[in-house]
Amino acid sequence: MASDKVKTVTDADFGESVKKGLVLVDFWAEWCAPCRRIAPVVDQLAEQYDGRLTVAKMNVDENPATPPSYMIRGIPTLLLFKDGDLKETVVGLTDRDDLARLIDRHLS
């Protein structure tokens, strides 16, 4: 069960969603096995950083415009934005601690 602290973003509201603060976006699809494995990690990050980090998910099947604009050619891909600027790109399965370190670096 996905955390209710994770919001769903679409092509329509993507730009608006990443404009303010620190935002982590998880690009995923139903058919992607590694995406299912990283999903609980993303949920845990949303709980852990509640109030300091916005965590969002985008389904690449339903949103054809956004993934190509960030040249995403593989999922899971996590993008970290700070006030609208892309700061980090993480491709593939990644350890929760490594992701936390990455987020911490941009929180200060």
Binding site: A33, P34, I72, R73, G74, I75
Partner: protein, 310 residues
């Protein structure tokens, strides 16, 4: 959950889960630490047509879900998490998962193998940007585009056949002039109109890291030395696997090729530590042989524990 166990199994592919099933049925209440790539390589495949008992085949992830449920049904405890280190210098053995420590009288290593990269450097840099080791994960992004597959084994052809349904064209690049793949897979690939083969050829460079995407491959014919360029938007690497031994390196004896050495069944060089599946098998590497060796490891562990009074 008790952290002091009779048997801990590291890994949850066919080897790990079959070991769990047998150990659970032998009343050893095993703990399985799934690992980051839970379910193993079969989670990244589509139809498995050579698992005995399924005449129409079974999807890899479905097979793993069944195996997992079957092991749980008999009392195997399965936890998420990646083992960070193990201490095999004394019994009970210590298994660290993040900040948590578990101990076990017997240990079964079933950490499997991971896809090999080309060792060009640039291929890792462009990972997720057009370079992939998993067609079922990333093929979606190459709908209506040309792609290449590097390799000549069953995995390479399986990837090529899967991609042929999405991509405009699939070029299979192989460094020899014959395929290692099974006859069935070869026939299937050869009969697919938008799959073609480039023989005796290696990938020497991938362009264009400056653009952050794949635009072409630089190829070298290893008979003539001639180089050429192939324009593709994606390249899928299927040149084999390396065993996941970093946890136990220096603590158990490895073969010269890096796989864990097993003797008399599944025994490693450390009494009480057993190994199963692809981490110790560079010859067969099948789901069913991995499962078989997982069964052997559980039986070996059970006998070892009986012999030591546990």
């Amino acid at each position: 959950m008790s952290t002091d166990r009779q048997v801990i199994i590291i890994g949850s592919g066919p080897a790990g889960l079959t070991a769990a099933l047998y150990a659970a049925r032998a009343n050893l209440s095993p703990l399985v630490i799934e690992g980051f790539e839970a379910g193993g390589q079969l989670m990244l495949t589509t139809m498995v047509e050579n698992w005995p008992g399924f005449r129409d085949g079974i999807m890899g992830p479905d097979l793993m879900a069944e195996l997992r449920a079957q092991a749980s049904r008999f009392g195997a405890e399965i936890v998420q998490g990646d083992v960070t280190s193990v201490d095999l210098s004394k019994r009970p053995f210590t298994v660290n998962v993040g900040g948590k420590a578990f101990t076990a009288q017997a240990l079964i290593i079933a950490t499997g193998a991971s896809a090999k990269w080309l060792e060009l450097g640039v291929d890792k840099k462009l990972s997720g940007r057009g370079v992939s080791t998993c067609a079922t994960c990333d093929g979606f992004f190459f709908k209506g585009r040309p792609v290449a597959v590097v390799g000549g084994g069953d995995t390479a052809l399986e990837e090529a056949i899967y991609l042929s349904k999405l991509a405009t064209h699939v070029t299979v690049i192989h460094r020899r002039d014959t395929l290692r793949a099974s006859k069935v897979m070869q026939d299937k690939a050869m009969a697919t109109p938008n799959i073609s083969f480039v023989w005796n050829t290696e990938v020497v460079d991938i362009k264009d890291p400056d653009k952050g995407e794949v635009t072409s491959l630089v190829l070298r014919n290893n008979l003539t030395g001639e180089t050429s360029e192939l324009a593709v938007d994606g390249v899928f690497i299927a040149i084999g696997h390396t065993p996941n031994t970093s946890l136990v390196k220096g603590q158990v004896v490895l073969e010269d090729n890096g796989y864990i050495r097993t003797e008399k069944g599944s025994r490693t060089s450390v009494p009480g530590v057993f190994a199963a599946g692809d981490v110790q098998d560079h010859v067969y590497r099948q789901a069913v042989t991995a499962a078989g060796s997982g069964c052997m490891a559980a039986i070996d562990a059970e006998r070892f524990l009986a012999g030591t009074g546990h």
